[in-house]
Amino acid sequence: MGRNQLSLTLPPFGATQIRLLEKVSNAQAVSGDESDVRKIVIETIRPFVDELKVDALGNVLAIRHGSGETRLKVMVAAHMDEVGLMLTSEEEKPEGFFRFEVIGGIDQRYLLGKSVKIAHQDKFGVIGTKPIHLTTPEERKTSVNIDSMRVDLSGYTNKARIGDRATFATQFQRFGDCIRGKALDNRLGVVALIELLKQPYPNLDLMAAFTVQEELGLRGAQVAAFALNPEMALVLDCTPAYDLPLEIEDPDHLPENTHYNTKLNHGPAIYLADHATLSDPRWIAHLVQTAEENSIPYQFRQPGGGGTDAGSIHLQRSGIPSVSLSTPGRYIHTPAAIASLFDWKNTFYLAYLALQSLTPDILNHER
């Protein structure tokens, strides 16, 4: 099939989806405290699914049954949580200053001088910094430790409490073919999974898991996979694009970035291996074949560190063949990430077409 033919049958993916992305990107769901995003997910998917529940950890598990006779049970997971902060203790004097810990991998060099929003409350705090005039040149060469940073909430009389979570106060923005916002890791995956659930798949029982606590070590997906007990699993996530230029040391030899992980605008990234998973080769072949037959651009994420929910999913019960598919995002785990609408849309289409064309035959071969 050529691309033109398919565009007739492909579900729409455009302005409506971007509006939903804006809503979930601005919502707050630090790992362990995902309720705001969970609410939106449940509202949105309820009309499209046959079964819906929230489990003991807060994962949203939803099943959409297919109509065919033989149906593969396929889990598709996207984590709802994001990196952020937790307030851990309040200074006695002056009041309103909180110590905090970061949740998930945030580079401490990104924190100084940023504003944060306290979850479930309309309160903004700032992570203050010493004025440059009062610092020594030596101090300016070293990074400030989180232990000596505070969130300043002294502007409120009714203070936040210890244990409250906070995120960067970034607001979602679209510019041209790109989007910028906090938590694009992994609200891009969440919206893609919501859209997948809106479509029927005669060949599958589609088991969607909107998972919690991924950033804390793939925790939610573990129990979700055990409960759903699927035959295969696909994880939708967001992975860094480090496709930045290198500094030129030697003008005769232009440096080549060999450690880009993924590149923006090169299409969805198929995982081969990361720290937590060696992707199932049958899945990889299926995704590649689907992309090539339908002229959907794709790239392989460079094998390397990191991990997605697939890491805990594939080890559940007697093993679940799993793979991850990510939309590249620059600067994820910082106040704002940048992603490409082209990559995101094609992530959705590749996942959609791969699911539509999946048959039980894929499991006839040994891994």
Binding site: S31, G32, D33, S35, R38, K39, I42, K53, V54, D55, A56, L57, G58, N59, L85, M86, L87, T88, S89, R99, E101, V102, I103, I162, G163, V212, Q213, L216, R219, Q222, V223, F226, A227
Partner: protein, 356 residues
């Protein structure tokens, strides 16, 4: 229960060393303390002690798990050279505490020994002016090499030889108070429930290997598949040199865990109950992990709503851990009242807000 009774229970519980992986020595103590008041006792396939207090509900009874680990840290013989012993650690031990430490080597019989640091001119160069790592410390049994070779083998356990100390107030000192203090709290709770009629089935589990792999809590939870779980462990009490924002005052309060490991509705229930009973508590917030059995237990099978209750303890993972009996009573009483008051339909309430 009186302070003196709890002290004697604690003394009994700490008198048996039960290092991680080798906890069976504690089974008879627990059997003696618990089984008269409970309905069923069993040992799990990896050695956790499991005891059931049946609920009164005539409907199928939901099951609650209350667990505290029973293993403790210590050392293990890793080599024998000219009658001197080398060690490896079980659990996490700061080697700076070890020179001069009296220990018992559990060989063919129990042998007293002393851990010594060789004089600097006998040490490898890198240790001569600094900290000596565990690999360069020796254990001296004061026996000739033949006797040592006869009595001791690689893999033999080594525990701290430190008597139980009772102070004038309600504080006590002993090795293994992490986590026998929590087992004492479970014992308190079991006794409190004797004349109560809880609706739920309650499993009291003394779990194995928390200090290493959390094997006991993982596997007993899989076996029992409880609807709720409460993990009792110790947390850091403050003392000079510890950061005040990461520690709790000893004898003043217990700590209620809050973070991704704890179900927020369970936390709320415990908090309200503690307020109502006027049991002093502080929130122990952990942004990632609780550092207790709860971290793995929560993820068993379909996932378990979990609560963490902690007892402040000074000098954790040393031979001279210190706790306050008052805090043990507080933890035991709070959990007993929680169990006694647990409605049969509590699970309906624990649902996440958004599903309603």
């Amino acid at each position: 229960m009186k302070t003196s009774e709890i002290k004697s229970i604690l003394k009994e519980l700490t008198s048996t060393p039960a290092l991680s992986g080798h906890e069976s020595a504690l089974h008879s103590t627990l059997n003696h303390l618990w089984s008269p008041y409970l309905d069923e006792v069993s040992i799990s396939r990896v050695g956790s002690f499991q005891a059931l207090r049946r609920g009164t509900s005539t409907q199928p009874c939901p099951e609650l798990l209350v667990t505290a680990h029973m293993d403790s840290i210590g050392l293990m013989v890793s080599a024998i050279q000219d009658g001197f012993l080398r060690f490896t650690e079980i659990g996490g031990i700061d080697p700076r505490l070890l020179p001069g430490q009296m220990v018992t080597v559990h060989g063919k019989r129990d042998i007293p020994a002393l851990i010594v640091q060789p004089p600097s001119f006998l040490l490898p160069v890198e240790f001569q002016n600094g900290i000596v790592t565990l690999h360069s410390l020796w254990g001296d049994c004061g026996l000739p090499p033949e006797k040592v070779n006869q009595q001791v083998a690689i893999g033999d356990l080594v525990s701290f030889d430190q008597p139980f100390l009772e102070f004038e107030n309600d504080m006590v000192c002993s090795p293994s108070l992490d986590n026998r203090a929590s087992l004492a709290a479970l014992t308190y709770c079991i006794y409190e429930l004797v004349n109560r009629q809880p609706a739920w089935d309650s499993w009291f589990v003394a779990s194995v290997q928390e200090e290493e792999t959390q094997a006991g809590a993982l596997t007993s939870t899989f076996q029992i598949l409880p609807k709720l779980a409460i993990v009792v462990d110790v947390t850091f009490a403050n003392s000079p040199g510890t950061p005040s924002h990461k520690t709790f005052p000893l004898g003043d309060c217990i700590a209620l865990g809050w973070g991704p490991t704890v179900h927020p509705y369970l936390y709320k229930t415990f908090q309200e109950l503690a307020d109502q009973l006027e049991i002093p508590y502080k929130i122990e917030s952990f942004s990632r992990r609780s550092g207790t059995d709860a971290d793995s237990l929560q993820l068993v099978a379909h996932g378990i709503p979990t609560m963490v209750v902690s007892i402040p303890l000074r000098y954790m993972h040393s031979a001279v851990e210190v706790v306050s009996i008052k805090d043990i009573q507080r933890a035991g009483r709070l959990i007993a009242e929680f169990i006694a008051g647990l409605e049969i339909d509590y699970l309906e309430k624990i649902k996440w807000d958004e599903t309603n």
